[in-house]
C-alpha cells in the first residue's frame, strides 16, 4: 500500500478574458495498492483518487483541457485504476516468452506514462493525445526478449465526472496496439496506434479518434548521477480528417543527490470548443454537434526543481518543488477562436510551488498504467537502471 498527495499553489499570469489567477489546491490525493498471488502470476493494482473531492472544479493549468474542462486539468475518477493481470511465462520459469492478460478499469496500453508520476508538476497539454485512461479495458500482452507487444480492447467514452464509470455498453468499440522495444539497458522505444470511437460523446454519437504515438525513454546514469529523458510525438485525427492535432513533448530530469532538476518542452495543438457561459472554464458537455471553434497551439517551456526529504523517524517522503512555465498560444488554421481576444494576450507565465507527501515504497516512482508484461518489463528496466527514484 502507498499513498500520496500534493499541496500546491499555482499562479497563472493570464486566464480567460484576461487578468491573472492564483489558487492553492490539494491535488493527486491517491491511495495505491498492489498485490500478487501464485508467485506473481496473478497481480492486482488499485488506485483510488480523491480529486473529485479536492478539485471538483479542476486544477488551474496553462493549456490544460479535457473531459469538459479547459485551461484547467480535470479531476480524475475516484477509481483511477482497478486492474487484475494474469502473467505466465511460457516454457516454465526460465521460459523466454512471457504472456499476460489484464482486465479492469485503468489505462489502455497506448502512448506514454501518465503525467501524474512524471517529472513536471504541470500536466501537459497533450494528456489526452498521449494517454487513454480510465476505461474498461482488456489487454493482452506478450514479451520476448527485447520486444513487447500489447493489444487493448476498451470503451471509447471518456469519463465526464469523477463518479462516473465506463459505459459498459460500449466496451469493445475501441482498440489500441502498442509495440515496445528494449534495445539496451534503460532504453525504451515504443509506438502505438489506437482507434477510439466517440471519446467526447458518451452515448457514441461523436467523432472517432485515430491516434498515432511514438516515444523514446531512457533512464541511466550520467556523470555518476541518475538521468531520465523522454521524448514523444503523437498525431490525432478526428472526423475522417476534419480535425488533425499534433504534439511533441520532451522532458528530462537530473538528480544530484536528493535534489532533482527537470525541464520539459511541449508543443501541442488542442481543439477550442464553445464554453459554458457561466464559468469560462468548461466546455458544453455533451457537445451540441461536431463543430469546434478552432485550434490553438501551445508551446510551453517548464523548468523545475524538487528535493527528496525523508523526515527522520517518519515513514513518509516529502518532495517540495518549485516550477515555472512560460507558454505561448497561437491560433492554427481557421475558426473564430482567437487566443489574443480570449485571453487578452498570447503569452503566459505559470508558477507553482508545493510539496508532495508520500507514504509507501513505490508512491513516487510507480509507472502508472502498466499492467501484465508491461509491469514486469518496467520492473526489469528499473532493476537495470538502479532504481533512480528510490
Amino acid at each position: 500500500m502507498s499513498g500520496q498527495a500534493t499541496v500546491a499553489g499555482t499562479w497563472v499570469s493570464r486566464v480567460p478574458h484576461g487578468g491573472s489567477l492564483a489558487e492553492v489546491r490539494v491535488v493527486r490525493p491517491m491511495l495505491m495498492g498492489r498485490g500478487s498471488l501464485f508467485g506473481g502470476r496473478l497481480r492486482g493494482v488499485a488506485t483510488l483518487d480523491g480529486e473529485g473531492w479536492t478539485i471538483p472544479e479542476a486544477e488551474l493549468t496553462v493549456g490544460g483541457w479535457g473531459e469538459g474542462f479547459v485551461d484547467r486539468r480535470h479531476p480524475h475518477t475516484y477509481f483511477h485504476e482497478l486492474m487484475l493481470a494474469g502473467v505466465e511465462r511460457i516454457g516454465g520459469p526460465e521460459g523466454a516468452v512471457q504472456v499476460s492478460l489484464s482486465a479492469g478499469k485503468g489505462f489502455v496500453a497506448f502512448g506514454s506514462d501518465d503525467p501524474m508520476n512524471r517529472v513536471a508538476f504541470r500536466y501537459p497539454v497533450n494528456h489526452h493525445w498521449s494517454q487513454i485512461l480510465e476505461r474498461a479495458v482488456l489487454i493482452g500482452g506478450i514479451a520476448a526478449g527485447p520486444v513487447m507487444a500489447e493489444g487493448s480492447l476498451f470503451n471509447g467514452d471518456e469519463p465526464e465526472e469523477p463518479g462516473q464509470w465506463p459505459n459498459m455498453e460500449r466496451f469493445g468499440d475501441s482498440w489500441a496496439a502498442r509495440l515496445t522495444l528494449l534495445p539496451a539497458r534503460g532504453l525504451e522505444v515504443a509506438g502505438s496506434y489506437a482507434k477510439v470511437h466517440s471519446p467526447e460523446h458518451r452515448d457514441g454519437a461523436g467523432l472517432d479518434d485515430y491516434k498515432v504515438h511514438a516515444m523514446a525513454r531512457w533512464e541511466g546514469m550520467a556523470a555518476g548521477h541518475p538521468l531520465y529523458a523522454m521524448a514523444e510525438w503523437a498525431r490525432v485525427e478526428e472526423g475522417d480528417g476534419a480535425f488533425v492535432y499534433h504534439t511533441f513533448l520532451a522532458e528530462g530530469a537530473y538528480e544530484l543527490g536528493p535534489t532533482r532538476l527537470y525541464y520539459q518542452f511541449e508543443r501541442t495543438e488542442r481543439p477550442e470548443e464553445e464554453r459554458v457561459l457561466d464559468t469560462k472554464w468548461r466546455t458544453i458537455r455533451p457537445h451540441l454537434d461536431n463543430s469546434t471553434l478552432g485550434t490553438t497551439r501551445w508551446t510551453i517551456n517548464t523548468l523545475g526543481a524538487g528535493r527528496e526529504v525523508r523526515p527522520r523517524g517518519w515513514p513518509i517522503q516529502a518532495r517540495p518543488f518549485l516550477e515555472a512555465s512560460y507558454a505561448r498560444a497561437t491560433k492554427v488554421g481557421d475558426g473564430v477562436f482567437d487566443p489574443e481576444v480570449w485571453y487578452k494576450g498570447t503569452d503566459f507565465w505559470s508558477l507553482s510551488a508545493g510539496v508532495t507527501i508520500a507514504v509507501g515504497r513505490h508512491a513516487l516512482d510507480h509507472r502508472m498504467g502498466r499492467y501484465g508484461v508491461a509491469e514486469a518489463t518496467d520492473t526489469r528496466q528499473g532493476e537495470h537502471t538502479g532504481e533512480m527514484h528510490e
Binding site: 460523446h201 452515448d203 457514441g204 454519437a205 461523436g206 467523432l207 478526428e238 472526423g239 476534419a242 480535425f243 464553445e274 464554453r275 459554458v276 457561459l277 457561466d278 458544453i284 455533451p286 457537445h287 451540441l288 454537434d289 461536431n290 463543430s291 469546434t292 471553434l293 478552432g294 485550434t295 488554421g333 481557421d334 475558426g335 473564430v336 481576444v341
Partner: protein, 579 residues
C-alpha cells in the same frame, strides 16, 4: 406523323441462291438439291415467312423421297423449324423461318449431305417494324445561364419492338415550363433513330422542362429537365453586427429579427431588430438583450406577425422567450420558460386552430417539448407534452406542417410524428410516430417538407451538419427523401458542395427553388422542380459568399418580400436579390 419507316429505309442485298460445289461420292451422289420456293421474301422483322421449300432430285431429275434436309439460320438471329425435314413424294421438303430482329438481310440454309448444290441458302429481307419505344438518350439535366443555348442537344432515340433504330419518325418538342425556346418544334429521327433539338433557356432562373413526344407511342412523352442559372446580387447589409456573432433570422413585413451566438467581444445574448426596405441596407432599430443566455439559437415570428419567439441555450437563463409584435420595431415581453441546458430550436406549428411551439431540447435528456402558445392565457407558454429522443446528439430541429412534425434527430435520422395530421391518430398532446428514415451520413440537423405548386408533397429536404470549425470550415450535404409514402420514406438524392456544409434552408415553393445557408460556402440556390434523383449538383442556380472569403459563415436564410435575407455569423445580416 408521317409513317415513312416502311420505305427507303433498308438497303436490300440480294444474294440469291448460293450453290456450292460438292465432290462427295457418298449415298447422295448424283443427287441435287435446289430452292423450290420461299427465297427473297420481304417481311417485318420478327414475323414468320412463307415456308422455305427445297426440291431434291436424282441424276435423272426424278424427285427423291425420304431424303433428310437439315435447316439452319445463317444470319439475322431468327429461328427455323423443324431442324430437319424429309422430302415427300414430290421431292420437296420445307421449313418455317421466323425472321430475327435484324433489319436487312437474313439468311437460312438447307443442307443435304452429298447432294449437288448443297447447301442452298435462302436470302430474306427483314423490314423495320413500327416504332415501339422512345428513350431519352442525352441532353437531360443540363444547366446554363438564363437566356443561353444549352451546349448539348436534347436527344431521343426511336426504336421498334425489337430494339432496332427507326428512321423517319417525327418527334414533337414542347417547352413545358421555364419559357425557353427550341431550335425546332419537330424533328425527324435519322438512320440511327436519333431525333434532337437545341434548347435556349428562358429568362427566369430555375427549372425548365421540355417534352419530346410521338403520338401514340408508349413511353411518350419523355421529359428533359434543364436548370437556368442566374446570380445573386447584394442589395445591402453586411458587417453590421461587429461585436457579436450572428445566428438565426426571421423576416416579417418590414422587419427582420436576428439572433446572436457564443462570444465575440460580447455574448450571444441579443436579438437584433432591423427595419427593411426594398432598396436594401437593413437598418438596426433596436435590440433585446437577455441576461443569462449565451446564444439565441433560433428565432421565428408567428404567421400572423403578432408574436416573436426565440430559443436560447448556454446559460442559466436559457429557455424559450415570447414577445408581442404589436409594435414590430419594439417587441414587448410576454413570457418565458427556463429549460435546463437550453433549447436548440423552436418552430411554430398551427394545429386545430391553436398555435404551438415545437422546441428541441438538446443535449441533456434530449426531447421534443411542445408548448401551446396563447398570449392571452394565464400561462402564455404552456407545455402540453414532452417526447424523449435518443441521446444520439439528440434533437436539433423540427419542421411542422399539415399536422406532421419532422424531428431532426442527428444519427437517429428523421422521425416523422403525427401531431394532428390524422394519419396515425396523433395530436400535439399525444404525438404518434409514423415512420423514420436515416439519411446517409447521419448528423441530421434540419428539414423542409416541400409542397410543390402542383400540390405534390413528395420530397423532404434534410440537412446534414458534419464536423466543422465555426467561422472557418464546414461539412454536410442536403439529402432528398421521398416521403410520398409517409410510412416508408426513402432517400433518393443529395446535393454536395465541396468544402462546405449546409445549415438552415428556406424554400421558394412557387418558384421551386431551395435556398440553403452553407456556412463558409455562403448561400446556395437549388432548382428543386420536377423529379429529383441522384446528385442534384447540376441543379445549382447560384451561389454567393456575401461577406467574401474569410468573412462568410452563413447560418440562416429566408425569402421574404421577394428578396433573400441571410444571417452570417461573421458578417451579420444581408439582403440579397434572388436569382
Amino acid at each position: 406523323m408521317r409513317k415513312r419507316y416502311w420505305a427507303g429505309t433498308i438497303g436490300v442485298i440480294r444474294l440469291g441462291v448460293v450453290a456450292a460445289c460438292s465432290s462427295d461420292e457418298g449415298p447422295g451422289a448424283n443427287r441435287t438439291v435446289s430452292i423450290e420456293s420461299g427465297n427473297d421474301q420481304f417481311a417485318v422483322v420478327g414475323s414468320e415467312l412463307a415456308p422455305l421449300v427445297v426440291r431434291v432430285v436424282d441424276a435423272n431429275d426424278t424427285p427423291e423421297t425420304g431424303v433428310d434436309v437439315a435447316w439452319s439460320v445463317v444470319s439475322g438471329g431468327g429461328s427455323i423449324t423443324p431442324a430437319t425435314s424429309t422430302t415427300d413424294a414430290a421431292g420437296l421438303a420445307s421449313a418455317t423461318f421466323t425472321l430475327g430482329s435484324t433489319v436487312g438481310t437474313q439468311e437460312a440454309r438447307a443442307s443435304v449431305p452429298g447432294a449437288d448444290g448443297s447447301p442452298v441458302t435462302f436470302s430474306e429481307t427483314g423490314l423495320a417494324s413500327a416504332p415501339a419505344q422512345m428513350t431519352k438518350l442525352s441532353g437531360d439535366r443540363q444547366a446554363g445561364p438564363v437566356g443561353a443555348e444549352l451546349p448539348l442537344p436534347l436527344v431521343v432515340q426511336i426504336r421498334d419492338e425489337f430494339g432496332a433504330a427507326l428512321e423517319g419518325v417525327d418527334v414533337s418538342w414542347n417547352v413545358v415550363t421555364g419559357g425557353g425556346n427550341l431550335s425546332s418544334a419537330t424533328t425527324t429521327s435519322d438512320a440511327t433513330g436519333l431525333a434532337k433539338v437545341f434548347l435556349t433557356l428562358g429568362s427566369s432562373a430555375g427549372g425548365q422542362d421540355v417534352t419530346a413526344s410521338v403520338d401514340g407511342l408508349p413511353g411518350s412523352p419523355v421529359t428533359f429537365h434543364a436548370t437556368a442559372r442566374a446570380p445573386f446580387a447584394i442589395l445591402g447589409g453586411g458587417n453590421n453586427v461587429p461585436e457579436r456573432y450572428t445566428s438565426d433570422l426571421w423576416v416579417h413585413g418590414d422587419y427582420a429579427y436576428t439572433g446572436t451566438w457564443g462570444f465575440r467581444s460580447a455574448s450571444g445574448n441579443a436579438v437584433k431588430i432591423w427595419h427593411l426596405s426594398a432598396g436594401g441596407t437593413p437598418t438596426l432599430v433596436d435590440s433585446i438583450v437577455t441576461a443569462g443566455i449565451g446564444t439565441v439559437s433560433d428565432i421565428e415570428v408567428s404567421s400572423d406577425g403578432s408574436l416573436l419567439v426565440f430559443s436560447a441555450e448556454n446559460g442559466s437563463g436559457a429557455g424559450l422567450f415570447l414577445y408581442s409584435l404589436a409594435d414590430p420595431a419594439n417587441p414587448a415581453f410576454i413570457d418565458s420558460v427556463h429549460v435546463g441546458s437550453g433549447l436548440h430550436t423552436a418552430a411554430f406549428g398551427y394545429i386545430g386552430g391553436k398555435r404551438y411551439i415545437f422546441a428541441a431540447k438538446n443535449p441533456g435528456s434530449p426531447a421534443l417539448i411542445i408548448y401551446e402558445i396563447d398570449p392571452l392565457a394565464a400561462q402564455p407558454i404552456d407545455p402540453v407534452d414532452t417526447l424523449p429522443v435518443a441521446a444520439n446528439y439528440g434533437l436539433h430541429d423540427t419542421f411542422v406542417r399539415d399536422g406532421l412534425a419532422f424531428l431532426c434527430a442527428w444519427n437517429s435520422g428523421v422521425l416523422i410524428y403525427d401531431v394532428g395530421n390524422g394519419v396515425n391518430g396523433g395530436s400535439p398532446t399525444n404525438p404518434q410516430l409514423v415512420s423514420s428514415v436515416q439519411t446517409s451520413g447521419g448528423q441530421v440537423h434540419n428539414a423542409w417538407w416541400f409542397h410543390s405548386p402542383s400540390g405534390e408533397k413528395k420530397y423532404l429536404f434534410v440537412g446534414e451538419e458534419g464536423p466543422g470549425t465555426i467561422g472557418g470550415s464546414s461539412d454536410g450535404d442536403i439529402h432528398i427523401v421521398d416521403v410520398s409514402n409517409l410510412n416508408a420514406p426513402v432517400e433518393v438524392g443529395s446535393y454536395h458542395l465541396s468544402g462546405a456544409g449546409t445549415h438552415n434552408f428556406w424554400v421558394d415553393e412557387a418558384r421551386q427553388i431551395l435556398y440553403a445557408a452553407y456556412y463558409n460556402g455562403g448561400v446556395v440556390a437549388l432548382d428543386i422542380s420536377g423529379t429529383l434523383s441522384g446528385s442534384i449538383v447540376l441543379r445549382e442556380i447560384a451561389r454567393i459568399m456575401p461577406g467574401g472569403s474569410g468573412n462568410t459563415f452563413v447560418w440562416g436564410v429566408m425569402l421574404a418580400n421577394g428578396d433573400v435575407y441571410a444571417s452570417d455569423m461573421l458578417s451579420g445580416l444581408w439582403q440579397l436579390k434572388a436569382p
